[in-house]
Structure formats: structure tokens, C-alpha cells
């Protein structure tokens, strides 16, 4: 059976690729992905054919990749970060049976891990990952999950924390956390991870509430075990007496 690969490319630098993904991209004829991510990877694989489309055209992109794979082409769909987490693995797997194509998922380093590494170690223990984008999840479900994560004492990673249309979502999210955690709780943001303008900042939960986060930002909200140590955001490991 013809195969279609779906690969997570990590944050965007060549060094973020796993050896498996790097090898698979080198072996591909056609690389399919969102315009921005194709642009990030193109310099490392200049001889490949890139098929890129903009945001909101994910399903057409998956169908095109499946069609080409069904014709016997060596095709890889790329996703930023991991292939599964807010990625294309799910729509590809959902559509694949009608194309008679076998899907192979190659995982990658998601922003929860790459952003955490820049900040220190915010995700040492149990954690939750929540996207604030209501393009795909109803608003009330997002709020219910934030409430659960805050109440459950999870360190929490926020993907897609803001955009022009959703300038107040992070403030509202922090408002919920402030019901359960003190305003001085250690938080952090990582922006443009692995790219030229990469930056991190550690701040309190109160400060985070008015931070102007955009789509290139990943947000980390600490819990009662999170400390500022040597300028890093560190969630302590294990029991403390």
C-alpha cells in the first residue's frame, strides 16, 4: 500500500528535526505544508517540490497530499512542533481510508517542550496543554478546561494565546487562574522559538494578565511548586519538607 508520512518538524530550525524526520524529508519528492512552515524548512531541502497553502486550507492540503501519495509519489506533510498536537495527523488519518493510503506519523518536539527548555523547566511534573483559539473549539469548552487545569493544580501551557481578534483571551484565562493561584505565581512566555527573533520572558501571573501575547507566543503558567531560580522558571521535582 502507498504510504503518506506526517512529520512534526519542531520549532523550525534544522537542529530541531529528529533524525527520523530529517531522513524522511531528504527521501521525499514532495513536501506539503502551511506556507510559513514550508518557508522555514525549504533552505535545508532546496531540491524538493514544496506544496504550500495558507491557514484555513488545511483540509484541501491533506486531500492533495493523499491524492499524490495514492499516485505513488513520496510525500510528507509537515506540521510545526509535533505531528499530532494541534497538527495534521488527525485530519490525514480521518481522510486516508477513502484514498487507500497508509499513514505513518513521525513525532516532533512540540512547543511545550522547546519553549520550556528556553525558560528552564516549568513542566517538571503533571501539566495541561490548552489552545485559546476558538476557531476549532467552542469558547465555553475552553473556559471549562482552563477552570479544570487551574483547579487541578496543573502547570499549564497555553498555545495560540492571542491574536488581533482575541486580544483579551489571555487576560480572561489569567483571571481564572488568579481565582486559584496567587498573583506572584511564576509564569513565562517563549516567542519565536528557534527563530531569529527568539525571546523569553519570566513574569508573574498578575503581569501575564496584561501581556500582549500573539500567535507566535507560547505561555507557561506555573503552579505552587514553580520557582524563579538563577533567572530560570523551575517547577521543583518531588516532595519538599
Amino acid at each position: 500500500m502507498n504510504k503518506l508520512y506526517v512529520a512534526g518538524i519542531g520549532a523550525g530550525a534544522c537542529e530541531d528535526l529528529t533524525l527520523a524526520v530529517s531522513k524522511r524529508l531528504a527521501d521525499s519528492e514532495i513536501i506539503v505544508g502551511y506556507t510559513l512552515y514550508c518557508g522555514l524548512i525549504k533552505p535545508y531541502f532546496p531540491d524538493k517540490t514544496f506544496l504550500s497553502t495558507g491557514m484555513t486550507q488545511e483540509i484541501e492540503r491533506c486531500r492533495k497530499a493523499l491524492e499524490l501519495a495514492a499516485e505513488g509519489k513520496r510525500v510528507t506533510v509537515i506540521c510545526s512542533g509535533d505531528a499530532g498536537i494541534y497538527g495534521m495527523a488527525s485530519p490525514v488519518l480521518e481522510l486516508a481510508p477513502s484514498y487507500g493510503v497508509e499513514v505513518v506519523i513521525l513525532p516532533g518536539v512540540t512547543a511545550a517542550s522547546s519553549g520550556a527548555a528556553l525558560l528552564g523547566s516549568p513542566l517538571t511534573g503533571d501539566f495541561a496543554v490548552i489552545s485559546l483559539s476558538d476557531l476549532l473549539t467552542p469558547q465555553e469548552q475552553i473556559v471549562r478546561r482552563i477552570e479544570a487545569a487551574a483547579q487541578g493544580g496543573f502547570c499549564t501551557v497555553i498555545y495560540n494565546p492571542g491574536s488581533r481578534k482575541r486580544a483579551d483571551y489571555l487576560r480572561a484565562c489569567c483571571g481564572i487562574f488568579l481565582k486559584y493561584r496567587p498573583p506572584e505565581t511564576v509564569c513565562g512566555i517563549a516567542r519565536n522559538i528557534s527563530r531569529e527573533e527568539e525571546s523569553v520572558r519570566i513574569m508573574t501571573l498578575a503581569e501575564l494578565a496584561s501581556y500582549p501575547a500573539d500567535m507566535l507566543t507560547t505561555v507557561f503558567i506555573g503552579n505552587g511548586d514553580t520557582r524563579l531560580i538563577g533567572g530560570k522558571m523551575v517547577t521543583l521535582r518531588g516532595y519538599r519538607k
Copy 2:
């Protein structure tokens, strides 16, 4: 300032390494880690000095690595999966200031991503990660978090689901999920990811409750959007009418 690297090696096969970690290990004189993980990586870096210690000796291991780094040696501490998530980044960062060593964290692919890729795409949307090991987290906090994850509708990844001493923990965990999700909820396990005896199995939440999971198993509990499609565990992306 002398540097100490803490690197996530992924599930254990050479292909799971990121290019950054691979390069860093090749450039190290001494690789420090838990015996099992050193054994996994040794065949790919046979000319390195390995310093390995058993479980529960994590802090001595971190101190030894910091001492060697402070002496100017090129040292890398390895962790399975990611460097931060249930990894050594936190204790190393906590101890580092007293050694005058700068710590650099290199992220890796955690079992939530690598196990998910084998099963399909269980973590398409918001998710929670919880360890059932009570070696480092009090039992009542684990239960509180399971309750929050179940109530919040999170797809949930369970690390360290069982051991001889904790044979009933996964059953108790599933019991909590069964209060909020139907017994036919799609779940899955990945065992020995990237190793010779790698295996996956998809089952219902009711079946998972009596599955004899061990420390080499990662468990995935679906939510209301999780389906069995073409033999894969897939959490659907986006709104469904």
C-alpha cells in the same frame, strides 16, 4: 562560564534524537544518565565515557555531572523523552547556582508525542499529562488531578501507570474517568516505544481499567471527540455538526 547540557533523547532509538542532541552527544566527553537510558544510547556513541547510576540516585547523578562540568569537562546529562517533562532539567537547574555552571536544556520528543504517533492521533486537541507514580507526588494530589482532567474533558496521557507495588493505580484512575466518560471511550497504550518489543493496543476505557500496565507503558485516555478510524485512535479536529 562552564556549561552543562541536559538533553532529552526521545524514546531510545537513534532516529528519535533531534539533530541538536545528536550533535551535542557527539561533542561530549562524558554522558551521564540512568543505567537503562545510557544502555540505549551507548551503541551510537561507543567512544564516550558513560557515567550511569540506578533509579533513586538522580540527585547524586546531577551533582556529579555539575562537578565534572565545573572542572571544565564537556558533560551531557541524558533523560528519556524530553529533558524537562519528568526529567532531570529541574534538579540540575536547582543545584547549578552553587557550582557556578551554566545549564543548557535541549528538548526531546516526550512519550506523549511518540506514543501518540504509534496509536494515531489521540492528542489532536487540549490534553493533560499525569504521572501515577507517588514517589514524588502525594497520592491525594494525583487523584485531584485525575478528577480535574476527567471533568475538564481533557484527553489524558498517563505516565508511569503501574508497577508491582502499584498494580491497582490504573484501575483507580480509570474508575474516576468512568464517572465522566462512557465505558466505550476509545483508549490506547504504547509499550516499549522505539524498542525491540514495541507494541500498541487500542481498547475501551472499561478494558483499560483491568489492563496490567507496567512502567514501560504509556496510556492514552480519549475524550468525547476520540474515535477508532482505520484501526487508529484519532481525536477529531475542530467542530463537528
